[in-house]
Symmetry: C2
Subunit: 365 residues, 2 copies
Amino acid sequence: MKFTLPKSILTEVIGKIGRLMSSKPDIPVLRGIHVLVQENCIVFTISDGTESLIHTVPVSVDNGVIVLDCGASVFSKDAFNISKKLKGDITFEVDGSKLTVSQNKTSLEFSTIEADEYPKLAIENTTRAITFEGKDFEDIVKKTAYCASDSQARPILTGVNMNFGEINSFVCTDSHRLAKVQLGSSTEEMNITVPANLLEHAIKSFDLTQSVLVFPSSSQIALANGKTILTSRLLEGNYPDTNRLIPTEFKGELIVQRQELVDTLELLSSMSETGVIKLKVNSLFIELSAVSTISKGLNEIAYESWTGQDGFTISLSSKYLLHAINAFSSNSVKLEFVESMRPFIVTPVTDQEVNEVHLILPVRS
Amino acid sequence: MKFTLPKSILTEVIGKIGRLMSSKPDIPVLRGIHVLVQENCIVFTISDGTESLIHTVPVSVDNGVIVLDCGASVFSKDAFNISKKLKGDITFEVDGSKLTVSQNKTSLEFSTIEADEYPKLAIENTTRAITFEGKDFEDIVKKTAYCASDSQARPILTGVNMNFGEINSFVCTDSHRLAKVQLGSSTEEMNITVPANLLEHAIKSFDLTQSVLVFPSSSQIALANGKTILTSRLLEGNYPDTNRLIPTEFKGELIVQRQELVDTLELLSSMSETGVIKLKVNSLFIELSAVSTISKGLNEIAYESWTGQDGFTISLSSKYLLHAINAFSSNSVKLEFVESMRPFIVTPVTDQEVNEVHLILPVRS
């Protein structure tokens, strides 16, 4: 097996596989990168045992990739990390279990692992694919995945529930807050829960000017973007029914400048150990305050409109509210309240149709 | 006590005191910042118990600093870290043990510590000052302090020895390598050993377009730059006599492109767990190699000149050689060898007079 990559292509490959390179899987062979050299393409596969990424580099005169001898091998991460310091065209040659990386007068030798020892990636056959514009896919992920639970106490809550059908809907909750986005429709009906991590990794490593194809199967999901495929197991179990959680009738609607609210929440959250903020709506302005054992912060900001009662007060997690409104791009945001101890709703204020809703439970104070 | 700082001045103050703010001194009061407000200036003092920094802000119409009420207090680090998120002109007012930081509609309250509890900084009176151009001071530090020992086994080796006299000389060694710079002369004779950390902190926080004044006394050093003073204890004990260590006769002089040597050392050092590199000078080129249990690296680079024997071989720490030549700005470097097991000398190749020498002990291989 022997092939030559220009430095720019090696950098591209490392860019794609790089995040998974920092993982330390239990199975030693998974600490390497499977390299399959074929006449028309070179396929790099990396896995952390849960998530796998397959990146294909075509062989062409245009991109300068040359295949001199086909074959398969498993390279160490060092082979990539150290070779990327070379310049120009870099040649990789495997002889037995020895990989020689050479460029001009430099030669680096690494040991390899037999390709046979690398676990087969069982990608389930599926013909069903749902296609998203890269931008839409990013939007769905950014507006839902932030609500996923970090804890493995209820594994299903570490995922984003995707319901494909007449209206595709994407829901995520950690039981303290919830986000829901509705976008497009599918001819097929399907309900799957995808690890939020996988989705966040996808938007980091994908080229979002290109479309994203989602291939769901009974236990697995594959996300394809350009020449990159990311796969993972689906989360098992029933996702909680969240429809009844979202209130539809409100007693007060508050519209406020988004950036002003962000700045105030960021300032005051550092004044309280718990990050809990008290929000009080007066007849003329909003009073936001935070108290800790040793400090106290207070800020008044103006609102654009308020339909509720004077003096309405609610205590909330500044972190949760910031997570929600940081995902918005609108100039103003709308907060809709029922009562001080009932969940409230946050949405962006925009001319376009709003297809998302963010729900936050208040804090007992 | 009450004063107003424009945000730009607050940012400047935090920039100066910032590094010491990350320290966690054992004495609680030292975790705060002493603020002394006088009619014509505000003095900020911070200390980690060993090193202290005093920064003075003048009160003037030009810089927008306003003093409304004089006094002294100790502010918490949070008071600075959180207040820097405010914009515009920020007012600090102390009433009893309560500090209120306010700007427009925002008010933040912090508790303070009595100024009396803050230890007095005993700055010894000294009239002797040695003045350096900022650039020269930076040069001395960069070219010596890198050789200081990290270990407290022999505390004196954690410092840079400064010998002022007919020729000022600055020496630093951790017993594996040594750097020596000679620059200027002093009318007074003095020999002090200054913590290398202090010097490295100084070049980071000082404005090096301005001069640096060194005030040594029997047990202390103060470094003054603009409106900032940095002080520390001197290291006690006799600095080892290093003059006999530096060889003066050599059997081989090698001149090589600096950047090419840097690139090769950086590449090969990652191929060996120990960072040890074997350097072999052939009749036509230099062969550099590194070996680990699982990998092997080899590179050939050309030299500009070589006066020694064909096949001369030496094993060395790539880290130590990189530290030395990374401090150079010359295009070429000169390595002078006696024997494979004797220390060798590294110097920059330049048209100007060379006032520095870097010595490295080889590695037994």
